[in-house]
Amino acid sequence: MQKSKRVTRRQFLKGSIGAVAAFTIVPRHVLGGPGQTPPSETFGGALIGCGGQGNGTFNGLGPNVEKLAICDVKFLKHADNKKVYTDFRRVMERKDIDVVAIATPPHWHALISIAAMEAGKDVLCEKPMTRFIAEGRAVAEAEKRYNRIFQVGTYGRFGANRERHKIMASGLLKECKAVYIKHGGLKVREWSGLVNAQPQPIPRSLDWDMYCGPSPLRPYHPHRTGGTHRGYWDYEGGGMTDMGQHFFDRFQYEYAKDDTSPVEIEAYAPPAHPEACGMWGWVELKYADGLTLVFDSEEWGERYNRKEDRSVSISDLDEQSQRKLREMPEPEPLVRFPEAIRTRKQAGGHAAVSHRCVSLMHLANIAIRTGRKIHYDPVREQIIGDEEANRLVNQPMRAPWHL
């Protein structure tokens, strides 16, 4: 089996830019996209969420996107509602903006992605794509309803082992005995939350109510913002969701699980705190065909020792199946975001597949947060026989925000 080549974010962006530069830019209205006036050689772009990751995310839009607007809830002091905004809704109203890069904390990812597509814009959204499972389905529905381009800001699948993908996608392997164990790298301790945060004065430049948005309005504390927001269930899901989409986007593609989810999830962790993400040992997720995925944090408790790593290769097929596999066409190449917005072809990491990927981390976190083994219906996207656990699948939002 050929070892797959890992693609870093930097390499991917470099490649994207090169790929799109090779084409002649066509006016947007000719392509059937939004914001068609006037015909232009560039796309109008907006960056929503201007923290540390913002410019990097915006660059992922490609070289032919002009930054017409920036928006962040911390711009209260200098917003002019012409180029600088605090309220993303005003950005959505602009007809000259075709593409939006979203680099806010994740509790805003789904709502702003959906709003952008409702306004006819294409979306490149930072990972993790969502904060809970139902958000992802809603983003995928908006992508389909409005026929927009969506790509999540992680590119693991672009460097995936395509032979393994072909084997798994072929349907020739009836039972999958593979076990994929991710050892460490999930930044559990790093992205934990404070359990004794005392309220602080809200900075004058920050619209705190808008920052909280769909999540509960809590007393302000700086640890809830600026990167450390990752340690709170209100905004993200700890290092698990921060890093997981990077790692498991590739896994999901290789094992051809883009249209399904695990059916059984079990976690080893101490009782979770209600607001602060904290420690966990490992999570085991099993798919219906037997494939097992394990997140072993290596940061708390005993190491995972139930199963050993085991991959899938062509030798898992009998000779007849191997012959059939060779006769099958190679997988379609994945389309990068700059090419997708130009050609209107679906992006490689589009909403439906990225939703399945981030669901892995959400399911793991539900098992950690409830302390119970959960059984999941990947078609209905509901937890079976556990009403209280299901409350974390689709979490009510604070008005006026809703899916």
Partner: protein, 268 residues
């Protein structure tokens, strides 16, 4: 219960077995222990209640794991009995969130009373919607009294839980003077899938800016729900209207969405 570590987190020396044993012991003490823990809770910034805060949440998780609904109900009733009284609103907010974890139908009446309380309506609505069973009556009954933020919260949640009995009230709200209310009501009608709301929503979608975008979304959502319910005539009417009125280049994507849906609806 563990102490926070040097960073103020539960990252060091958190012992699963020790915590679970302590929680089981507290639980065995029954209602009195639950109330005793609640007595230790203080509003943020007014003392240290880290252990009590964590213990109450662990109790909620514990009763959900017992596979004994009577025990879960007893716990939920004990917590709910401390709502609506003199306890600080910040403490009550936390108790409501505990209900969102472990409460059921037995506490919806108590939560419903909080829907008109400016400081508690948001968490109460979220807990009610999460619980689901029995929540619709609470939202519907609170609507006439709810003002400001509470009213918006109630209207939105009537849509989330798809309360068909609220259609008339929601139709009136579509022409409210508050834009957030209008948008929430339009979306609620669409999510409910009320066939009689097509005209109201299409009119709402004549608005400008953000409201136009949102009302148009409501129209498309309503049409999808009508199609799913087999009401093709009403759905086709909405799609046809959008196809014919979204003639500006910037709204071509809406026209295209409507055209695509019309084709699908006609089975061609």
């Amino acid at each position: 219960m563990p102490d926070p570590d040097g960073r103020g987190m539960y990252c060091t020396d958190i012992d699963k077995d020790k915590v679970e044993k302590a929680v089981a012991q507290i639980h065995n003490g029954g209602r009195d222990n639950v109330i005793a823990i609640i007595d230790m809770l203080v509003p943020p910034g007014q003392g240290n209640d880290v252990k009590a805060h964590y213990a109450l949440h662990c109790l909620a998780l514990h009763v959900c794991k017992l596979d004994d609904d009577n025990q879960r109900r007893r716990f939920a009733r004990a917590v709910a009995s401390q709502l609506g009284g003199d306890r600080p609103k910040a403490v009550q907010r936390y108790l409501v969130r505990v209900m969102q974890v472990a409460g059921g139908r037995e506490v919806v009446g108590t939560l419903g009373k909080l829907l008109v309380d400016e400081e508690l309506c948001e968490p109460a609505a979220q807990a009610l919607t999460a619980i689901g069973d029995g929540a619709a009556d609470q939202f519907r009954e609170s609507l006439p009294q709810a003002k400001g933020k509470c009213r918006l919260t109630v209207i939105q949640n009537l849509g989330v839980i798809r309360d068909a009995k609220s259609v008339d009230a929601l139709k009136r709200a579509v022409t409210d003077e508050d834009q957030d209310i209008r948008i929430a009501a339009a979306w609620a009608l669409a999510n409910i899938g009320d066939p009689g709301s097509a005209g109201v929503l299409l009119k709402a979608a004549d608005a400008e800016g953000w409201e136009r975008i949102q009302a148009t979304k409501a129209c498309l959502l309503l049409a999808e729900n009508l199609l799913a319910a087999g009401k093709n005539y009403e759905a086709t009417r909405i799609y046809t209207h959008l196809r014919n009125t979204r003639t500006e280049p910037a709204e071509r994507y809406v026209r295209d969405a409507a055209k695509k849906a019309l084709t699908a609806a006609s089975g061609k």
